[in-house]
């Protein structure tokens, strides 16, 4: 029992509060909606809804970790959606060619913005604010102010298809096993270096709980059609970029740059190049999100992506990323996105006017940051 208490202390307080708050609002919404919030169809809906912001949040988190900001991703997403529609619908470019071009162009846009910030030393806020206006303009120009439809079925997969339940089970079990093996390796390494580790029972218990959660999520999603494609994409990207940020030299460098830019420079870190790469990745995320949104709507629209940069920033920050740089986790953005999507979803199910959603999300954002400042002062 005692060692269990000790274990609880090592889990970051923040994650605890975050998950507690999530459970709380789910309980509240379930009661208030008479249980329909928890219907598998609604949950499936909710996670599909969060995927877009989640994908943008991944890139945004990396940008904020370096101590910068990107206000342009919503507009890039919109413009790339327009580009995809024009190419695919009006010019008959094939699905894969279209997607390839969209991803490439979005990455080039990110690279260009990053280069202006990094090499020409124009503040990120200004460059990406400019980008916000420019690409909103591009979006309107490309779409000529109308919705462009329809997309081919091969394209719509990325926003509408589901991965079949049998495959989801396989994925879930494989993920559980891999996570367990990684944790076991980490534990044995720590023992080798005589670091403190939690006792064996807790180690097993933790992994059993984690596996149960994964299987439970799979079960819920499988009770309604399976795993939505865009959610799968989001998860894949989280895994990739968690690895990149936590395990690679590049990832370490971007934390260092946000923690102390001058010290990173003096340590021989290629600070300028890294910053460009971070913006390139962020552009790419906007491109991926553009593919997802056009596939989901089955159209390129003149308004897609409006204000989405703000949602992305909010989900990063709610997920624990510090605006002053050097602190944050990619998966935090996913929790943040889930949080915000839950509020959107729950409130609209209760038929509360949309304006309340803005107000509530705004309050939560401020409270989350206050909590971070408060808890870091206490420690």
């Amino acid at each position: 029992m005692n060692s269990f208490k000790k274990y609880l202390k090592t889990i970051e307080l923040r994650n605890f509060v975050m998950i507690g708050a999530l459970l709380l609002i789910w309980v509240v919404f379930s009661t208030l909606t008479g249980g329909s919030f928890l219907l598998t169809r609604n949950i499936s809906n909710l996670v599909r809804h969060m995927a877009l912001v989640g994908i943008l949040g991944i890139g945004m988190t990396m940008v904020i970790i370096t101590g910068n900001i990107d206000l342009s991703v919503g507009s890039i997403l919109g413009a790339m959606g327009g580009l995809a529609a024009v190419l695919h619908v009006w010019y008959g470019v094939g699905t894969y060619q279209t997607i390839g071009i969209v991803l490439l162009v979005s990455m080039i846009i990110g690279t260009a913005q990053g280069a202006i910030i990094s090499y020409l030393k124009v503040p990120a806020f200004i460059v990406t604010l400019g980008g916000l206006l420019i690409f909103r303009g591009v979006q309107l120009g490309l779409t000529k102010g109308i919705s462009i439809a329809p997309f081919a079925d091969t394209y719509k997969i990325y926003g509408q298809a589901y991965i079949a339940p049998s495959i989801v089970w396989v994925l879930a079990i494989a993920t559980s096993i891999v996570l367990f093996l990684l944790d076991a390796k980490k534990r044995s390494d720590r023992i080798k270096y005589k670091f403190e580790v939690s006792n064996f029972g807790i180690f097993i218990g933790k992994n059993v709980v984690l596996t149960l959660i994964i299987l439970f999520v799979a079960f819920i999603l499988n009770s309604y059609r399976g795993l939505p494609m865009q959610v799968f994409l989001m998860m894949l990207l989280v895994v990739i970029f968690t690895f990149v940020t936590q395990k690679t030299t590049f990832g370490r460098s971007i934390y260092a740059m946000g923690g102390n830019f001058e010290a990173s420079l003096y340590s021989g870190i290629k600070v300028k190049r890294n910053l460009v790469i971070v913006y390139a990745i962020n552009g790419l995320m906007a491109g991926i999100a553009a593919v997802v949104i056009t596939a989901r709507l089955n159209a390129g629209t003149p308004t897609a992506g409006m204000n989405m940069e703000l949602d992305a920033i909010a989900s990063s920050v709610i997920g624990g990323t510090s605006m002053s740089g050097g602190v944050g986790k990619v998966y935090g953005a996913i929790l943040g996105a889930l949080f915000m999507a839950s509020i959107d979803n729950g409130m609209s199910m209760m038929n509360i006017d949309a304006y309340w959603q803005y107000i509530v999300k705004g309050v939560i954002l401020v409270v989350a940051v206050w909590f971070d400042i408060y808890s870091s002062k206490k420690a």
């Binding site: 270096y193 690679t248 003096y266």
Partner: protein, 516 residues
């Protein structure tokens, strides 16, 4: 009536994982200069942070009595109210404000609510004069500090003196100085000690923390010694010798403080020809003028000079990190190289440990292992994936080598004591396996025992074929360790001496030589 102005009784302070202070007692008499000595991590800074309200009541155990009356402080302003003013080890000036704004921060004199800037500037000028930063004579272009200068444009030593001016402006009854002289040159130290004497004659009590024991012997009336968070003893300076203090600090006798070795000098490794660096602030003016120097394999090359002589600027520029243009040639092993950034420098085996560890050296929010490997990430990774096990093993090796005091490689840099932070910066430099290692004030803030360790490591590196270039403002250290010495003044090389030729007089002469 008792003569004690301050008594701290049975102070215990626990951080997660460390007992920083364990039942420590401190008694300070009215009007004396009371020194506190102890190794890095002994708990000196922690003790005075408790006294000055940084760690408020409730975060520690024990009692604080001032004039026999118990006080509890809810914060620094509460401590300031009873006249306890502290200059902390880590400087706390606001970099973007001016000198005057910093000195009067929060206490601006005003007339009817309007800040009286004339008053502020004239008072600031007086204070700057007191700490020797402002001179009346205008005939020299030497770097005078004006009340309107922005803090971030000042050197670290100048900032330290501004910090002292700020404390003087606050009417302290008990003035606490945590390693105030670590960043100062000899003349500045003299100024500071003069100020302390002056304050003592006015009846103000000072608490003085320093690793420079000669200063302690010179200025202090009494001394208290801490070791591993415990008070070892207090005594009048009259009754005690420097060696007694060292023995109480480290728990054993240290005889030879400078383990000088007459290394065998070999070929030139680094050669600088006609090197000049522009002033980033004043176009057309040169900070470094026509420097020609070289460094040989197998030597410790000392670089001496007064503050503002351009030593740091010269080597930062050679390292590719100085924000101004330079002209001239750099040769490494006879080959001309072009160094445009620290990346280039490190790839040529040229490493630099900067004097300002907080700004250029450490990432405070990261842990020891991450800081240690920061400049060697490529070496500990395969296909860009960091080998975390190797990272831990290498860091632990260096921690042992440098005797860094910490509970483990996962301790955050910001939780380390000042001296141990310095060791982490050294760890980072050593891990790059440099061929040329420039150490800018390498023992600043480091205790006698650890200093000795660092000197031994320098010797060992030289034996392994590394060229060590040591910039230092401590003449003793320069004379005690260098095989060869250059002296700089006003951006020029004004003297070159072998270890045999060099002495205090000819180095000082060269150091002021450029200023005529």
């Amino acid at each position: 009536m008792s003569n004690k102005i301050l008594e701290m009784q049975n102070i215990t302070k626990i951080f997660p994982g460390v007992r920083a202070l364990d039942d420590v007692c401190l008694q300070v008499n009215n009007g004396e200069v009371h020194a506190i000595c102890g190794e890095n991590g002994a708990g000196k800074s922690t003790l005075i942070k408790i006294l000055s309200g940084v760690y408020p009541e409730g975060t520690y155990e024990g009692r604080i009595l001032i004039n026999d009356e118990e006080h509890v402080f809810s914060g620094t302003s509460a401590a300031e109210k009873v006249g306890i003013v502290c200059i902390h080890q880590e400087l706390e000036l606001i970099p973007d404000l001016t000198v005057a704004e910093n000195i009067f921060l929060g206490k601006y004199p005003h007339k009817f609510g309007v800040v009286d800037w004339n008053e502020i500037y004239s008072q600031t000028r007086e204070l700057l004069k007191e700490v020797g930063l402002h001179r009346e004579s205008q005939d020299e272009e030497g770097r005078q500090v004006k009340p309107t200068d922005i803090i971030k444009h000042l050197g670290i030593g100048q900032r330290q003196l501004v910090e002292i001016a700020k404390a003087l402006a606050r009417d302290a009854k008990i003035l606490i100085l945590d390693e105030p002289t670590a960043a100062l040159t000899e003349t500045e130290v003299e100024t500071l000690l003069g100020i302390l004497e002056e304050l003592r004659s006015r009846g103000i009590t000072s608490i003085y923390i320093s690793h420079k024991l000669d200063e302690v012997m010179h200025i202090a009336d009494r001394v208290t010694i801490l070791r591993d968070g415990k008070s070892i003893g207090s005594d009048d300076i009259k009754n005690i010798t420097k060696n007694d203090i060292i023995r109480m600090m480290v728990g054993r006798e240290l005889t030879n403080l400078f383990p000088y070795e007459d290394h065998k000098q070999q070929d030139k490794v680094l050669e600088i020809k006609n090197y000049s660096v522009q002033d980033p602030d004043i176009p057309g003016r040169f900070l470094i003028k026509d420097v020609n120097i070289h460094a040989n394999k197998g030597e410790i090359l000392g670089i001496s000079g007064l503050m503002g002589a351009g030593r740091t600027e010269l080597f930062t520029s050679l390292f590719g990190a100085f924000p101004a243009n330079s002209v001239g040639d750099i040769f490494i092993n006879g080959e001309k190289v072009s160094i445009k950034s620290p990346v280039d420098a490190l790839s040529h085996g040229f490493a630099l440990v900067t004097e300002d560890r907080k700004r250029y050296g450490l990432i405070l929010g990261m842990d020891i292992k991450e800081n240690t490997t920061m400049a060697s990430l490529e070496d500990i990774s395969k296909l860009s994936v960091i080998d975390m096990n190797q990272e831990i093993a290498l860091t632990q090796e260096l921690i042992e080598k440098l005797k860094t005091k910490t509970w483990g490689v996962e301790e955050k840099a910001k939780n380390l004591s000042g001296g141990n932070q310095q060791k982490v910066v050294l760890q980072k430099a050593l891990l790059t396996k440099p061929k040329i290692l420039v150490l800018d004030e390498p023992t600043r803030g480091i205790d006698v025992g650890a200093k000795l360790e660092i000197y031994k490591i320098m010797n060992q590196l030289v034996e392994e074929g590394v060229v060590i270039i040591m910039i230092s403002s401590e003449l003793e250290e320069i004379l005690g360790m260098s095989n060869r010495i250059y002296v700089m003044a006003e951006g020029r090389i004004t003297g070159e001496f072998t270890a045999k030729e060099a002495n205090q007089e000819n180095i000082m002469q060269a150091a002021v030589g450029g200023m005529v």
